[in-house]
């Protein structure tokens, strides 16, 4: 066994986005792992065909789950961060339309989508970057102005520009990926990377 990654892509009505931004802001301010767990547990419940409510009335329209992996270049960077050889942090969440099965040798998304008007999401501003026990937790919120996309793949990077930087993980939502519609929905991508995973 080794480092295990689980990633959720969750679709929300755009009217719920202000609540999600405040939710993430609260996590960043308090580092409350209860809030992080609540969000990820709600995603899992939606995947399991329940109808979780976040806060008082925020419903998940759809959640897709990927059980993919931390890639080798990401592990190399993690080790450098532990030794102090790298001070660059994991800050950006990228999305794409590729559906190729992830491989440990991957260094980027298969078909990353974005550009100057649709950049990678800065998780230090629109999400969170947390740790708990032997796990890392990342989340990125994409607003309603993001162009329409079917989110087939996602990955965490250390730089913002499209197709650049070192990738930590790569996930492909092979079953029922979410489809975001500009000005109608927003979506959230949440990753949990566990160095000592609990086996089901």
């Amino acid at each position: 066994m080794g480092i295990k990654d689980i990633t959720y892509a969750a679709l929300f009505d755009r009217k719920d986005l202000p609540f999600l931004y405040r939710y993430a802001e609260k996590v960043r301010a308090t580092h409350s792992q209860q809030l992080v767990d609540d969000f990820n547990n709600a995603c899992q419940r939606k995947v399991d065909d329940h109808n979780p409510i976040l806060g008082d009335r925020t419903e998940f329209m759809q959640v897709s789950k990927a059980d993919d992996l931390v890639v080798t270049v990401g592990i190399t960077r993690l080790i450098l961060q532990i030794t102090g050889g790298s001070l660059v942090r994991w800050q950006w969440m990228a999305k794409g339309g590729g559906s190729t099965t992830p491989s440990a040798a991957d260094a980027g998304l298969t078909a990353e989508v974005g550009g100057a008007s649709d950049p990678r999401i800065d998780m230090s501003l629109f999400g969170w970057r947390e740790w708990a026990g032997s796990s890392l937790r990342f989340l990125a919120i994409s607003g309603e102005s993001v162009p329409t996309i079917t989110v087939n793949e996602a990955g965490i990077f250390d730089t913002g520009p499209l197709a650049g930087g070192t990738m930590l993980n790569k996930n492909v939502f092979s079953s029922l990926p979410i489809t975001h519609t500009v000005n109608v929905t927003g979506f959230v991508i949440s990753s949990v990377i566990d160095f000592v995973p609990v086996m089901n």
Binding site: M1, K4, I75, I79, W131, S134
Partner: protein, 200 residues
């Protein structure tokens, strides 16, 4: 039959894998070892120690090598998460040796029979920190002046004294027997991280 507790079993089966070698040298050979480390040839020395353990010949005058496959600790991994996120900056840089032969447990934060002093492996000639593609190798060189001891346990920590322990190892079989003024030794711990995509 030995029954492992749940957390020990979880770390051994699912966590990063760790192997530690304790290698004994004659006192007059320690300056040569230190020089090789200063020249950036630490992995060359470490590889020779590992091969010597496997009964290969070596051009280094190695007296004895002991090996153990024990544990990273949960607090140590938790600290790694903080180094990765960037909320901590102190590195694992102190090599520690001791004489106790209690079994290693993943929550242990200390050697039970520590022999001082600890070795700051970031100082020239004191050891090395090597980041590989998926491996992290920490090596400490204990000079001939280190007190006489049968080295049955070892660890790496962030501070001296105290600090966060990254690992704890116990050499249950054939530990090295260091004599002050006669011999010196190295402790090298190799951590292997790997990404996985499926549950076992």
């Amino acid at each position: 039959m030995l029954v492992l507790d749940d957390e020990l079993e979880r770390m051994k089966k699912n966590g990063p894998q760790e192997v530690t070698y304790a290698s004994l040298f004659w006192a007059e050979d320690i300056p040569k070892i230190q020089k090789l480390f200063i020249e950036g040839k630490s992995e060359e020395v470490n590889e020779k120690c590992r091969r010597y353990y496997d009964d290969h010949k070596s051009d280094l005058n190695i007296i004895h090598v002991s090996k153990t496959e024990d544990l990273p600790t949960y607090p140590g991994l938790s600290y790694c998460m903080q180094l990765i996120i960037g909320t901590q900056t102190n590195r694992f840089k102190f090599a520690i040796a001791g004489t106790d032969n209690s079994q290693a447990r993943p929550y242990q934060q200390g050697l039970l029979g520590e022999v001082t002093p600890r070795i700051d492996i970031t100082l020239p000639g004191n050891g090395s920190i090597t980041a590989g593609t998926t491996t992290l190798t920490l090596t400490g060189i204990f000079a001939a002046s280190f007190p006489t001891a049968v080295i049955r346990e070892s660890a790496f920590s962030t501070a001296s004294p105290g600090g966060i322990y990254l690992n704890r190892n116990m050499f249950s079989s054939s530990p090295i027997n260091h004599t002050s003024g006669v011999s010196g030794f190295t402790i090298q711990s190799v951590f292997t991280f790997a990404g996985v995509t499926t549950w076992e």
